[in-house]
Amino acid sequence: MTTAPVVELESVAKVYPGPPPVRAVDGVDLAVAAGELVAVVGPSGSGKSTLLHLMGGLDRPTAGAVRIEGQDIARLPDRRLAALRAHRIGFVFQDFFLLDGVTALDNVAQGLLYRRVPARVRRERARTVLTRVGLGSRLGHVPAQLSGGERQRVAIARALVGEPAFVLADEPTGNLDTASSDAIVALLGELNGAGATIVVITHDLEVASRFPRRVEMRDGRITAGAAR
């Protein structure tokens, strides 16, 4: 592949201070190109989540460089980093993190809230994306009225509504039963097929085995899959 990586990590380390210091991520080199569907797999405590936060600009590395579409995030002020998250990155969390009491449509529309998009346009686009993830008939439901799998679809739609450069999903199937989990993996594959770049973190080897590229982590280091 010749395309420039959308996100690239170079000798990245993240150390949490305090006795004893924890090297959550330790010398990681990784590049994800546009159009890829990557699973980062490893046992809990292996540093996957920290890696995902670094890739998404939610956290800054202690050492090394994280480049999102070529920009080194270490040099960006908070405002610019927030702008990068608003426009170029979509997040999906294990616990969905939807707003209670807010409809699926408005939850997804929140994905465009910090881009100064008018409310009407936000809703319109949210409707389109929700239909794409198969929830066209659930627009007016609040999270409490949706199943776990449906909630995760809403969260995925929220990550996708801004058409980001890439989507980072942290254990998106961690709280789901097998059937829902399979459906979410299938959905991610489908969205990837339509052009989305997706990085999924999982501790589930069975889930990971269904992704075209697997990066294995242990104790903050990549043990397999760093190179394409």
Binding site: D59, A86, F91, D95, D100, G111, L113
Partner: protein, 394 residues
């Protein structure tokens, strides 16, 4: 490529934050509401009272002087010289003069009641001009006139009439003054500035002289002066009324008493507004407290918003706005409540309603300012939360 939040969306986000915890929001806003309501009500009631008082003063006039025999250095007099009224009438700016003289007689409902039971009612000889000088109006009947001054007719003050049990005017009631039956020809409305006359029975000078040997020397002289020269008149009244012993003359201005009462009311108002201010302050602290708690509970929401692209500034704005909305809600409810209390109180007291609109606006403004200040610290804490930590699965 920038991260931005439309103003309308910022308000909507903050409002949604409050609306998702309605019970807590209402209870928190209550403190501010009570403080504002207290301040607005106190200011409103005082303003209504003041408007009423000013109207009363306008009506009664502040140019009325009351001249009585005073406590001299060496002696005390019971009455003024008989010449006092005519002398006082010659002072240039004095426009009207009239006098009353104490009559040594008791007034009773009938002859079966002991003469010792006066009911605190004094009998005074009065001129027909008294009603005009005092601005007295009649609740019933008429005042003394030249004809009535020579016959056994009496006009009662408001309190006197009630104590004597005079309620109906048909047929003409009679009361027993001294040893004679007198016909009650009129009852006066209460006189705000002259409570002593409310407790009096007024008879004509001629009949008083004939029946009770009353001397013409007055016990009280009332005079109206040109309003702009009242102070000057006060200066010469004593020497004019009693040239021999000017120190035995006391001059008072009955409207001063009302003004003094008003000044006392104002001191109380300052105190009450101060208490309202304390309530506001406590309300502000309560808001800050609840907001800090809210920030702790909503770490995840903050994390998600940061992941969606919110800057630190957006998070700060969200929580400050929430606090401002909360206080503003309290302010508006409080102002409405205070205005309602004012209207109800004024209606109950028959005051003119004067809801002070500037105070209303200022108190809502103060509530908003308190909200903004109370929200600063919690908002700063919210903005400091690291996004990566906030989204970490619990």
């Amino acid at each position: 490529m920038r991260s931005g939040l439309r103003a309308r969306d910022a308000v909507a986000v903050s409002y949604a934050g409050l609306a998702s915890r309605p019970g807590r929001s209402v209870l928190t806003a209550l403190g501010i509401a009570i403080g504002i309501a207290a301040i607005v009500a106190v200011l409103g009631i005082t303003a209504s009272g003041r408007a009423d008082l000013l109207a009363t003063l306008d009506e009664l006039g502040t140019n009325l002087l009351r001249v009585t025999p005073g406590q001299g250095v060496f002696s005390a007099a019971d009455e003024l010289p008989a010449t006092a009224p005519s002398m006082l009438g010659r002072i240039g700016p004095v426009r009207q003069v009239t006098e009353t003289t104490f009559v040594d007689a008791a007034v009773r409902r009938n002859d079966l009641i002991s003469e010792l039971e006066t009911g605190g009612i004094s009998v005074l000889a009065a001129r027909p001009g008294l009603a005009g000088v005092l601005g007295a109006t009649m609740a019933d009947g008429r005042f003394l006139d030249d004809a009535a001054a020579t016959v056994p007719a009496v006009v009662l003050g408001d309190v006197a009439a009630r104590r004597l049990g005079i309620t109906a005017f048909d047929p003409r009631p009679r009361v027993f003054v001294g040893d004679e039956w007198f016909t009650v020809i009129g009852v006066m409305e209460p006189l705000t500035l002259h409570p002593d006359l409310d407790r009096s029975a007024l008879v004509g000078y001629d009949v008083a002289a004939a029946l009770f040997d009353t001397e013409p020397a007055p016990t009280t002289v009332y005079l109206r002066a040109a309003p702009e020269l009242v102070e000057d008149v006060v200066g010469v009244v004593a020497a004019t009324a009693n040239p021999e012993n000017p120190d035995q003359v006391e001059v008072t201005r009955p409207s001063d008493a009302l003004e003094a009462r008003q000044a006392a009311d104002e001191a109380l108002t300052v105190l009450l507004v101060g208490l309202g201010g304390v309530a506001l302050l406590v309300g502000g602290v309560a808001i800050a407290n609840i907001m800090v708690m809210s920030v702790l509970e909503r770490r995840r929401e903050i994390g998600v918003r940061r992941a969606l692209g919110a800057t630190r500034g957006h998070i700060r704005t969200q929580f400050v706005l929430e606090s401002v909305l909360l206080a503003g809600l309290g302010g508006v409810v409080g102002a409405a409540l205070g205005a309602a209390i004012t209207v109800a109180f004024a209606a109950n007291q028959d005051f003119r309603v004067a809801v002070p609109l500037p105070a209303l606006a200022a108190s809502v403004g103060a509530a908003l300012a308190i909200g903004a200040i109370a929200g600063l610290y919690p908002a700063a804490r919210a903005a400091r939360i690291q996004p990566a930590e906030a989204v970490r699965a619990a």
